[in-house]
């Protein structure tokens, strides 16, 4: 009998093909149409319909630049259009260390430099404690943290004089890629609309909250965000990834089917 390829290298070939399938549409766009999801419309309308003067709390819990963060940036862009128009005010916080590492890059992308810090927006920085931090901010943000990320006392920031608890907010957005339970428990059902930016795989976990009216809208990375960028007329990285995501999903399906067929074929050969 002749020589055969060792099975551990089959994984390497599958991975290499995966990278190729993802890279080729990046270099040669296929132009697969991007649809605007009904949930995207709900999210868009929700942000547009916030009454003037409302404060938006954006809670970042993950740094994943190419996936979730692109969705966060797309949501930020829509909110910031209204912040720049003097209609909304933005407070940003994080409960974990990860997002801090990408914040500077995000700020550059969003061009926050032209806003009046302290009046139009505030970056609270890290409030450790995950769900406990969310609960603390929802009940009394000034007790949860005394200074912003840059060390300025909250009492010296005009915007923070108007924000003490969740009752002062017009919208809460949480950017994450895990179970939606913590923000739903601490921010949901309190009379303030809640938007979740969460992973594609968490849609089944979010749906019960959507049905129950706890989550008003959600955004997921990839194709939904690409549709959202199309709706905003501001194409970003998610649009660049749309073709590649479609082809890699097709490849993943072929791989699943192929590996199962090969497995059964080999079993019969034995």
């Amino acid at each position: 009998m002749g020589k055969k390829l060792k099975q551990e290298y089959e994984d390497s070939i599958a991975a290499l093909l995966f990278i190729l399938v993802a890279s080729i549409p990046m270099a040669i766009p296929l132009g697969i149409p991007v649809e605007i999801d009904p949930m995207t419309m709900t999210l868009y309308d929700l942000i547009e319909e916030i009454p003037d003067g409302g404060i938006v709390l954006y809670d970042l819990t993950i740094l994943n630049w190419f996936t979730n963060f692109q969705s966060d940036i797309a949501i930020f862009k829509q909110i910031l259009v209204r912040v720049r128009a003097g209609e909304l005010y933005l407070v940003i916080m994080t409960e974990v260390t990860g997002p801090i590492m990408g914040i500077d890059k995000a700020w550059d992308t969003l061009k926050l430099g032209d806003l009046d810090y302290g009046t139009q927006w505030v970056y609270l920085g890290l409030i450790p404690g995950l769900e406990a931090a969310e609960a603390a901010v929802a009940s009394d943000v000034h007790a949860a943290k005394t200074t912003d990320h840059y060390g300025t006392p909250l009492s010296e920031l005009p915007l923070m004089e108007r924000f003490h608890s969740i009752d002062d907010l017009a919208l809460v957005v949480t950017g994450m890629n895990t179970s939606p339970d913590p923000p739903c428990r601490q921010f949901g059902g309190k009379g303030v609309p809640l938007i979740l930016q969460n992973g594609i795989s968490t849609i089944p976990l979010m749906m019960p909250y959507v049905e129950a009216g706890i989550i008003q809208a959600y955004m997921t990375p990839g194709l939904q965000t690409a549709g959202y960028e199309k709706l905003q007329g501001d194409l970003g990285l998610a649009t660049s990834f749309a073709d590649a995501q479609s082809t890699t999903v097709a490849y993943a399906l072929v791989l699943m089917l192929g590996t199962n067929l090969v497995y059964h074929w080999r079993k019969r050969q034995k």
Partner: protein, 234 residues
């Protein structure tokens, strides 16, 4: 000005991906660097937080919240010595208790009452009704699994036999939920992750770095060609 991000990002990603081919020193370097740098950054952020929100307030007169936090934090360090390890459980017990209480209070409305509140069993479409029933059954079944899973036999077992059946249904729902979530998460991370990182390889300087990586890969494959194959036994 040199765009170091565009240079370092493809190099580091390529070093990470090298594990897909074989275990090499490139993988070792990047693995240890990322773990070390991440830990260093986390330590820095946490020390900044302690300084800004605990040490500084003490000097400004806001003593009690900071002292409670600092004390609980310092008590956890008692587990570094075998003789004082048991005292560290005080901090953990307090924090776990508070954490559970926060979760429980928050869970009542959104997670329990809202999920049991089905507006109508007949008003919506048949699909909506079916969805509502599935949600209701999975919620009640999962609660039953954690509360009413009794061993067969004995008084409690005979009383709760019916609830054991409901708990079994809850277990099936949990298996379905965990399985689909894990499968979808892995697929998402692989697809979205690879797609994102590939973005850097289709434009300079990433494309040149990829070319160098491919040359090294082809050279190594040709050098080790014979080791990829085996001769099956008759």
């Amino acid at each position: 000005m040199i765009d170091w991000e565009s240079i370092m990002f493809p190099i580091i990603t390529l070093m990470c991906w090298s594990i897909l081919y074989r275990h090499s020193f490139l993988w070792e370097i990047v693995q240890h660097s990322i773990v070390g740098l991440s830990l260093a950054l986390i330590l820095k952020f946490m020390l900044d937080f302690i300084m800004g929100n605990m040490i500084t307030p003490i000097f400004q007169g806001s003593i009690y919240p900071a002292i409670i936090g600092l004390t609980l934090g310092l008590i956890t360090w008692l587990r570094l010595a075998k003789s004082t390890r048991d005292f560290s459980y005080i901090s953990f017990a307090i924090m776990t208790g508070i954490g559970t209480a926060i979760c429980a209070i928050g869970a009542v409305g959104p997670q329990i009452l809202a999920q049991l509140n089905v507006a109508s069993w007949v008003a919506g479409t048949p699909v909506t009704n079916f969805n509502n029933f599935i949600m209701w059954l999975s919620t009640v079944g999962t609660i039953a699994y954690f509360i009413f899973t009794y061993k067969r036999g004995g008084l409690a077992g005979s009383v709760f036999t019916g609830l054991n059946g409901l708990a079994y249904i809850g277990r099936v729902f949990m298996m379905l939920a965990f399985g689909t979530t894990l499968g979808a998460l892995i697929a998402e991370m692989a697809i979205m992750g690879v797609t994102g990182y590939a973005y850097y390889y289709v434009k300079p300087p990433g494309i040149y770095i990829l070319a160098i990586g491919l040359i090294i890969l082809i050279f190594d494959i040709s050098r080790r060609w014979e080791t990829f194959f085996y001769t099956p036994e008759e």
